[in-house]
């Protein structure tokens, strides 16, 4: 199986000049095409830090992150923005959506950034909003949607640009258990039917149960890596 993400000996030290915090201490990780992987570990173990580095939002202190045969640590600021736009979908814990745009416009947004045609956008928006079960709510603003619905729109938005993979940092942290279950249903369905790669962090045992691979971090290092059969 081809790797989508290869993390090699990544370390991250915050505040190296004052009070150094070793957030990651030599992490190696390979994520293959079509994986559905949860990143778990106690608070402060480095989950967010690792996801940020994989997503090109932050730089590693040492080591490399290879995506698409490209070491993203070596890209310039503007190249990395372009790279994120083309290859990575993001779902954050909150504040995912642009509040002044409707659900449909939010989903289209990245496609517009990519310069997709009107027809292509319409087709994709319809398909994705169907997939996340919100085809009825195309014209609602985020404030008119529940937290769970907003996260589903965020998943649709993340997928709109046909990224190589989707990164999600605690996407269910602000959701009740029903919404959590719905969101996971959608994510795993997209994963199985469309072979979309998901890498997400979570504290929630119910979410962990749904993952097919669980990577556990502790104190900035991978301490276990289990793939369910």
């Amino acid at each position: 199986m081809k790797n989508v993400i290869t993390v090699k000996e990544v370390t991250k030290v915050y505040n190296p000049d004052t009070i150094p915090v070793h957030a990651l201490r030599g992490v190696d990780l390979e994520i293959g095409q079509g994986e559905f992987t949860a990143l778990v570990g106690p608070s402060g173990s480095g989950k967010t830090t690792l996801l940020n580095i994989i997503g090109g939002l932050d730089n590693a202190t040492e080591g490399s992150v290879i995506i698409n045969d490209q070491d993203i640590e070596k890209l310039s600021d503007s190249q990395i923005i372009e790279f994120r736009k083309q290859h990575i979908g993001f779902v954050f814990q909150a504040y995912n959506l642009i509040p002044v745009l409707t659900a449909k416009e939010n989903v289209e947004f990245v496609m517009l950034l990519q310069g997709a045609s009107q027809a292509a956008r319409d087709a994709r928006v319809k398909e994705l909003m169907n997939a996340v079960g919100l085809s009825e709510h195309l014209d609602r603003r985020p404030s008119q949607l529940s937290g769970g619905q907003q996260q589903r729109v965020a998943v649709a938005r993340a997928l709109a640009s046909k990224p190589r993979f989707v990164l999600a940092d605690e996407p269910t942290a602000n959701l009740d258990s029903k919404s959590t279950a719905d969101l996971l249903d959608i994510m795993s369905q997209l994963n199985q039917e469309e072979n979309i790669t998901f890498l997400f962090s979570t504290h929630d045992q119910r979410v962990i149960d749904r993952a097919r691979r669980v990577v556990m971090l502790e104190d900035g290092a991978v301490i276990s890596d289990d793939t369910k059969m």
């Binding site: 940020n52 997503g55 939002l57 932050d58 503007s78 923005i81 372009e82 994120r84 736009k85 083309q86 993001f90 954050f92 504040y95 995912n96 642009i98 509040p99 002044v100 745009l101 416009e105 289209e108 947004f109 990245v110 517009l112 950034l113 990519q114 310069g115 938005r157 993340a158 640009s161």
Partner: protein, 406 residues
């Protein structure tokens, strides 16, 4: 395309914090309103100043023998006078004109003597052209039935020489051949005008008296004329100049450098007004936009994370500010327009305020279409400039830090 999306977001962002946006809109409206009024007021003031100078003194066009302008000698009279008068009388663009005999001389009484400019006028024509008859403050204007050698002198001169109505004076002046002659005149009126130096030096006699004394009743040195419409100034001036090339035909701007200065400075003053007001507004805009950016830090981080580049982010913030300006500018212009319209109907009484300057008139603010355009463009430029710093702040944000911001 994507830019329409940026515009859409920028536009809708304005309405997220209505109070803040309306505060900015409000201050721009007030600024533009004040600016509109100030510009119209100044414009009206200059118009008033110029028209007062034109109506009381300069007229629109003056014709001289060019030698006379340089040498001031009596022998340099206007060339082809009779023909010139014919042309002026039949020209439909001309409202009125008056001929003058000018002579440097002395005025004397028992107390002493001083130099003066003697203006030999045709009373009816002069009254029509410069309203000299309306400026008489003591005694009377020239009257056809009255006796020999009446004279009208300025208030200032009267004060200096302790002259009153009915005082007798002796004028001494040159004939064409250089010989001096003297004659007795009787003060029949004292005039007051806006310019006290003019008042001190210039005195008026009837041209026919002067002609008789000089033994030449066509000794005309100056013809001044008013047009029906100032817009015809250049055309009429050019036509007269080409028809009578021996004479010097000048317009009021050429004759009076200070009127010319006022007119040309109008543009500069306007820009100074604009800069002052816009400078005040720009701080309000910067402040409001910085607050907006602070409020939306996480959202901006998210936008950068999902691939919105700095250029687009920058544009988005600039657009938002420009939209605020574009909402406010027309409102301010509208208020300004109606205020100017109102005062241009009723006028602003400047009698007390401007008495010292010698202008005692009603001021009518005026504004041309060009100014409305200038103001709008200035507001947009100000908005863009005001957006720069906040937008710069926004694009300096690091996505991770922005997202993690509480």
């Amino acid at each position: 395309m994507f830019n329409t999306m940026i515009i859409k977001i920028a536009w809708r962002n304005i309405w997220r914090n209505k109070i803040r946006s309306l505060t900015v809109v409000g201050s721009i409206v007030i600024g533009v309103w004040a600016l509109t009024f100030m510009m119209a007021f100044y414009d009206g003031f200059v118009t008033m100043y110029i028209s007062s100078a034109v109506e009381n003194d300069l007229s629109h066009i003056q014709i001289h023998n060019p030698e006379f302008v340089d040498e001031k000698e009596v022998k340099y009279t206007i060339d082809d006078y009779t023909e010139l008068i014919k042309v002026l009388s039949s020209d439909n663009d001309i409202l009125s004109f008056a001929s003058r005999s000018l002579n440097n001389g002395m005025i004397a009484n028992s107390k002493g003597s001083r130099g003066c400019d003697i203006r030999g006028i045709v009373p009816i024509d002069e009254a029509k052209l410069t309203r000299l008859d309306k400026k008489i403050v003591e005694g009377n204007y020239f009257d056809l039935t009255k006796k020999k050698n009446p004279i009208v002198i300025g208030k200032k001169l009267a004060d200096k020489m302790k002259l009153k109505v009915k005082s007798k004076v002796v004028l001494t002046f040159q004939k064409t051949d250089g010989e001096l002659i003297s004659a007795a005149f009787k003060v029949i009126g004292i005039y007051k005008c806006t310019n006290s130096i003019f008042e001190e030096i210039n005195l008026f006699v009837q041209q026919k008296d002067l002609g008789r004394l000089l033994e030449d009743d066509q000794m005309i040195h100056e013809i001044a004329l008013l047009l029906k419409d100032v817009k015809q100034l250049d055309t009429v001036q050019a036509a007269l100049a080409s028809k009578f090339p021996q004479n010097l035909v000048e317009n009021y701007k050429e004759i009076s450098p200070d009127v010319n200065l006022y007119e040309s400075q109008m543009g500069v003053i306007t820009y100074i007004f604009i800069i002052i007001i816009m400078f005040a507004l720009i701080f309000g805009i910067i402040n409001a936009m910085l607050m907006a950016i602070l409020e939306r830090t996480r959202e901006l981080g998210m936008l950068m994370s999902i691939g919105m580049n700095r250029m687009k982010l920058f544009l988005m913030i600039v657009f938002e500010t420009v939209f605020i300006g574009l909402i406010a500018a027309p409102l301010g212009l509208l208020f300004g327009h109606f205020t100017v319209l109102y005062f241009s109907k009723v006028g602003i009484d400047m009698t007390e305020a401007l008495e010292k300057v010698g202008l005692n008139e009603i001021l009518y603010p005026t504004l041309n279409v060009e100014s409305y355009f200038t103001i709008t463009v200035s507001v947009v430029i100000t908005a863009i400039l005001g957006a720069f710093y906040p937008a710069y702040k926004a694009i300096r944000l690091k996505p991770v830090e922005a997202i993690n911001k509480i």
